[in-house]
Symmetry: C2
Subunit: 190 residues, 2 copies
C-alpha cells in the first residue's frame, strides 16, 4: 500500500461523438483518422475537428475516437466561461441536465440538448492495479502532487475496468494550478 | 487553533507600476483613478489599463494602485501561455530573472527587463490573526477547501504585516481548479 503512484495526464478540451453525429458532421459512413493513440487502450485523438458554438462564443475541438453512445463536450472552466457555458462537474457519460450546444462540421451541424461538462478528475485503473492499491470502482480518493505548486486533489474518482490503463486525468485548469508540466507522478491517498 | 478559517479571493491578471512608469504611460504627474477598493488596506483596482505585449500576443490589464517600487505583471499560466511567456512562480516583489515585457499606455510605452510572474499562492495576515493561528511570516502552510472540486493547496506562503487584512489569494487557474466561485472559506493546516 506504500507505493500508490500514478502518472497524471492533462486533458485538453475535446469531444466525443456518436456514429450518427459523425455522419451528419462529416458525411455518411465517414471514419475518423487516427492522429495519436492515447493512454487508454483503443482511444485516439483524431485528425477531425468540430466547432462548438456556445452562448458567448465558439471554439474548435478535436474529436476523440472511436465513436461513443452519446455526444459529449469536455471543457475546462476557462474554456467554458469564454464560450458562455456554465457546465456541471461530472464523470464521463453522466450528462443529465448538462448544457447543450451546437456542433458544426464540414458537412453539417448537430444541436445537442445536453453533453457539455467539466470532467471530474479521475483515475483509470486496471483491476490488477486497483487490487494492488486497495481501491474499488467509484471510490473517491485523494491524489497528492509535489513541486512548487504542490497540492492534494480531493474528490478524485477511481474507475476500474479491464479496458483501462492506469493513468490519472485532470483538466488544464488543474494542470496549471498544480504546475503539472512534463512527466508528473501523483501519489494516491485515502 | 481549531478555527483557522480564512476567506479566499481570486486574483485576475493585473499589474503594478512605478511612479516613473505611470508618468511615461499616462503622462507626467498622472494619478490613477480608483475604480474599486480591494481587501488589502489602501490597495485599489484603478480605471487605468495598460497593454502587455508578450512574445506571442498581447492583452489588456488593470493597474492596481497605488504605485510601487517595481513594475510587476501578474498572470496565470493560462494567460502567460497565450502571450508566450514562461514566468516563474514567485512572491510579489521577487522578480529577479523573471521575463520582461513591453507595457503600452495612451501616452507612451515602457520596456521592462523583468517583472512578469505567476503569483505564488499566499495568505495575507494581520499580526493578530497570525498570532491567533500560530503562524509566522514566510511560513509555508496548507489551505484546505471543500466543495465538488475539494483540494488542499500546499506551498501557500503566510505573509504577516500590520498593513494587511487577513485574506488568502490564489489566481484564476487555482480558482477554476478548485471551483472557488462565490464566497469561499479555506481552512489553514500546518
Amino acid at each position: 500500500m506504500s507505493e500508490r503512484k500514478v502518472t497524471i495526464e492533462g486533458s485538453g478540451k475535446h469531444c466525443h461523438v456518436t456514429r450518427e453525429t459523425l455522419d451528419t458532421l462529416f458525411g455518411k459512413g465517414f471514419e475518423l483518422v487516427v492522429k495519436k493513440m492515447l493512454s487508454q487502450p483503443g482511444q485516439f485523438a483524431s485528425e477531425q475537428k468540430v466547432t462548438v458554438v456556445g452562448p458567448k462564443g465558439q471554439t474548435t475541438l478535436s474529436i476523440i475516437g472511436p465513436c461513443r453512445k452519446a455526444d459529449q463536450v469536455e471543457l475546462s472552466y476557462t474554456d467554458a466561461r469564454a464560450l458562455g457555458f456554465n457546465p456541471p462537474v461530472r464523470e464521463s457519460g453522466d450528462l443529465k441536465g448538462s448544457p447543450g450546444c451546437k456542433l458544426v462540421g464540414p458537412k453539417g451541424e448537430v444541436a445537442i440538448n445536453e453533453g457539455v461538462i467539466i470532467a471530474k478528475r479521475h483515475i483509470h485503473l486496471t483491476p490488477e492495479d486497483a487490487a494492488k492499491f486497495g481501491l474499488k470502482d467509484k471510490q473517491n480518493v485523494k491524489l497528492k502532487v509535489g513541486g512548487e505548486r504542490a497540492l492534494i486533489f480531493d474528490e478524485v474518482v477511481a474507475r476500474v475496468s479491464p479496458d483501462y490503463a492506469t493513468f490519472a486525468h485532470v483538466d488544464y485548469d488543474e494542470v496549471n494550478a498544480a504546475a503539472l508540466f512534463g512527466e508528473t507522478i501523483g501519489e494516491i491517498l485515502d
